[in-house]
Symmetry: C2
Subunit: 339 residues, 2 copies
DNA sequence: TTGTAGGCGTTATCAT
DNA sequence: ATGATAACGCCTACAA
């Protein structure tokens, strides 16, 4: 049995395709008996509209698009959590999610082009925005709505972000309050939009505290756990090593903790550690990881909701949301130190 | 500037839509000068084919579909990890992923219908198959290829699964080898396909060992951490409580560990615990969780690869893959006991 | 080598 | 209340 279309029902019922279409769509100008007849036939045939055809005609797809890094896998709970939030809220509004995993570069942009110019989605979610971001330039030039997780100082596209500068600044103060004076930063790659903001928060805190700006205490990682471990090797290998290490994301912090433990030192005791994000693994780490919380799941929900508002042409306020950071103090940052 | 279509390029170049289409598609029967001209114009206009139209015409979408539980969020690393594997491998073959988060029931089936009968995807991935699974019945009746994570004993659809019966059986033997004789099972909901298999493994192990089948040692949970904790309350509240608890998934095992700790007992010492899955959180738990590993990410990759093979009509062997279970012994199952 | 014509399945416009 | 017709953008016989 072939798939039923409007034509099948039209033939079966004797009514025109037009009438069948309108009966099924619930238009008022259809005789009730006619409608019932048509609905019965449709049910009997298991009719399901061809959504591709509908999308072609109607110009919208009830689908949100997202391109995620080809490397963002179970190692990267950040993206998975975000995805969950976006997908959950999208579903609530009747939207599906079209995902494409791509490596950074040419392929990535063409994935955007396929989704947007290819008319496969009604809007895009862009996460982990970069400085001078080609994806963003593309989206700005397109007519489709989009929302962004992250921002740079002067940006004016629709975004949600956590105030990372303030967050880092507060965490450095937390370390200082515990008696630390040699506080290191494992920074994020320069090209990420949040990298300079978080670095600025670090410098600002040192200034607040009257601590010297020591460039040897700043090591840049690539957000992976391995790079966090490598940073620890470098930091603790130098004379006058730091007693506290603040990583710009939790993955690196967890890697740092592992490296510290491997050196025979105790996290929270010999060296204090903190991260940024509060991914699920942070609370489960041992010792549990002190971190700056980003409500990633909720941000995902918010992004989806805002995006759908934009798609529907509703008046969306709060196009620029900057959330206050929330410090989550756990055991990895230790206890106040003597002296 | 409106979006460029074949017609735009046709008007611009003076050639017919047909010729433009063929030039861009790389057909041989197009004059090279003509092709160059057309390609230049297409580039200049930033032409991107409307994929919706192409899909309508060509009947395939280069997209895999997956419906995930609306509740499967960051709390459920199982689905996120699986999704990662599927998405990563799909991308490698040029496929995207269409996701729909749905609650179980009517909505769930209609999400399948929209994807499959609605011609939005070329094939489906079904995870966590159930007994007498309506989704599976639907897929069997459809003409689309699909692959399944999980199986029941007599099933003959394309699947990949880990041999849970053997896995549970071996883990019970592991507990017994450590000196336990009161070994409890936190079972999975009956309607999941793997539930009776794992339960059978438990009974089989008891028989192997000459231990009595005590129904009070089997409590059924709903796969959530909370239900694992509740099971512990019930198990440890009875006279002659178990000294070892085996949960049918890691989430429940982690919940069980938390409940044991909350009672003032030490996991691995007073009560041994093990789980099933080896989700990322298992290794990070404290103490680290002994478990039966499912290579979820790799299974996701395999599922995608098999599915794409089926879609392309290639001869796919190994349509029924049953992986050997791998016991991952960590600290939560404790040490051999005296006596 | 290029063009004409038809159709994929749907929805919208305009008559009747 | 119903139907004929066109159009969305693309692909592909078939003709020229």
């Amino acid at each position: 049995m072939k798939k039923a279309t409007l034509k099948t029902i039209s033939d079966e019922s004797g009514f025109s395709i037009t009438t069948v279409s309108r009966a099924l769509a619930g238009y008022a100008d259809v005789n009730e008996r006619t409608r019932q007849l048509i609905i019965d036939i449709a049910d009997r045939l298991g009719y399901q509209p061809n959504l591709t055809a509908r999308h072609l005609r109607s110009k919208h797809t009830n689908t949100l698009g997202m391109v995620i890094p080809l490397t963002a896998y179970y190692s990267d709970q950040f993206f998975m959590t975000l995805l969950s939030g976006v997908g959950q809220q999208a579903a609530r509004f009747g939207y599906d999610l079209l995902l494409s995993a791509q490596m950074r570069g040419e392929e990535e942009i063409s994935a955007y082009r396929r989704m947007v110019d290819g008319s496969r989605v009604d809007g895009m979610v862009l996460a982990r925005v970069r400085q001078r971001d080609a994806r963003l330039d593309y989206l700005k030039g397109s007519a489709r709505p989009y929302v962004v997780f992250g921002h740079a100082d002067e940006d004016d596209y629709p975004y949600i972000d956590v105030d990372g500068k303030t967050g880092i600044r507060q965490m450095v103060h937390h370390f200082a309050a515990y008696g630390h004076r040699r506080i290191a930063l494992i920074a994020a790659p320069d090209d990420l939009a949040f990298a300079p903001l978080r670095l600025a928060g670090y410098w600002a805190a040192l200034d607040d505290l009257g601590l010297p700006r020591d460039p040897r205490l700043v090591v840049t990682g690539d957000l992976s756990a391995d790079s966090g471990a490598a940073a620890v090797t470098q930091l603790l290998g130098q004379p006058d090593p730091p007693t506290a290490i603040l990583a710009c994301n939790d993955q690196m912090a967890l890697g740092a903790m592992a490296a510290i433990t491997a050196r025979g030192l105790r996290v929270g005791d010999d060296v204090a550690v903190a991260g940024f994000d509060d991914i699920p693994a942070a609370a489960n780490a041992s010792p549990p990881l002190t971190t700056i919380r980003q409500p990633i799941f909720e941000i995902g929900q918010s992004l989806a909701q805002t995006l759908i508002g934009l798609i529907r042409g509703e008046a969306v306020h709060d196009l620029h949301v900057l959330l206050d950071p929330e410090l989550v103090i756990r055991a990895s940052s230790g206890k106040p130190r003597a002296g």
